[in-house]
Subunit: 191 residues, 2 copies
């Protein structure tokens, strides 16, 4: 028997990505976001939903660009801080000891200390309700050499991303491997 | 030194959600999707991006509704199968031994065996490129009693969702707790 829980965003898990921007005056800022994901393969694109109340919302509108920066487990405290404080009040990156570096392809900063960075050009926005969904086309991915596997791709066990457990309000690391995608399901038709 | 990896969807991790629909003739179908996430708090909404080539794309267009069904680690093989085969060719739910049950709030089926189910009404769609992003307003969440914690919320360690490691093409479980969100970051300003 299923229990009805009502109209709630109770689905697990959500990513923890850090969105970095320049504001209208050129000040770098960053915030943690979990209402986000990949949303297209060709062109490669991500979406992130932000409230108008955030400083980042207005910076993306002004600059038509943002970066997605992936914190590793070692950066959980810094990423959480970037989700608590507002860039209106303080220089969050300075307080967190993080270094903004101008992106090559878009008008936004990368966070140097985070191992994976996506340079995104704003290509679409849609106000859903309290949140506005921004779609960014990925114009480049930058990665620390140390997180790349032998195929030159960012390995999840070197990257060590973490997720946001929505119902509990905690961060969780990534666990063991269950199997290969587009592979283990073939067992059902081989039987 | 950062290495440039080009225009790719190389960001980790992505959720594994199963999208269930009725087609125009009323046949239930389901597919696994990872280009998906929560996209609004008020109204509560999720987004999922699908290629026009999928059977589910046309079912969502026809019925203006879908459900998001969360497979646990125990359902990894079934979920993978739902991402390989097409509902055009076979009755995927029957092959996977899964039971479609009509949702209460929307014109779509829930998957009975999966522990968490979101009933979503299509409120927006936007073609980005190869993928079209569908936004669904969550009209109800249904959960198995056995996954609820003492606050009546779906506990991640009972739910046992898994993620898709994009660069490796494997499924991974959820790991250990790193800390509380909107909390551990306060250490940076208390110092």
């Amino acid at each position: 028997m299923k229990r009805s829980l009502g109209r709630k965003t109770l689905i697990q898990p959500a990513p923890v990505w850090v969105i970095a921007t320049y504001d209208e005056q050129g000040k770098p800022n960053a915030m943690a976001a979990s209402w986000a994901g990949i949303c297209c393969s060709k062109p490669p694109a991500v979406c992130v939903s932000l409230r108008e109340a955030t400083y980042t919302y207005h910076a993306i509108k002004a600059r038509k660009a943002f970066t997605v920066n992936l914190p590793s487990c070692d950066h959980a405290v810094a990423a959480d801080f970037l989700g608590i404080a507002s860039g209106r009040d303080i220089d969050k990156l300075a307080v967190a000891g993080l270094t903004p570096v101008r992106a090559e392809q878009v008008d936004a900063p990368l966070i140097e200390e985070f191992p994976l960075n996506l340079e995104c050009a704003l290509v679409h926005e849609h106000t859903i309700g309290l949140h506005t969904l921004f779609v960014g086309e990925i114009l480049d991915v930058k990665a620390d050499e140390g997180i790349l596997n032998d195929k030159g791709r960012p390995a999840i066990d070197l990257l060590r991303p973490f997720v946001y457990a929505v119902a509990e309000g905690v961060y969780r690391s990534i666990g063991e491997t269950l199997g290969s995608a587009f592979d283990i399901g073939n067992a059902l038709t081989r039987e």
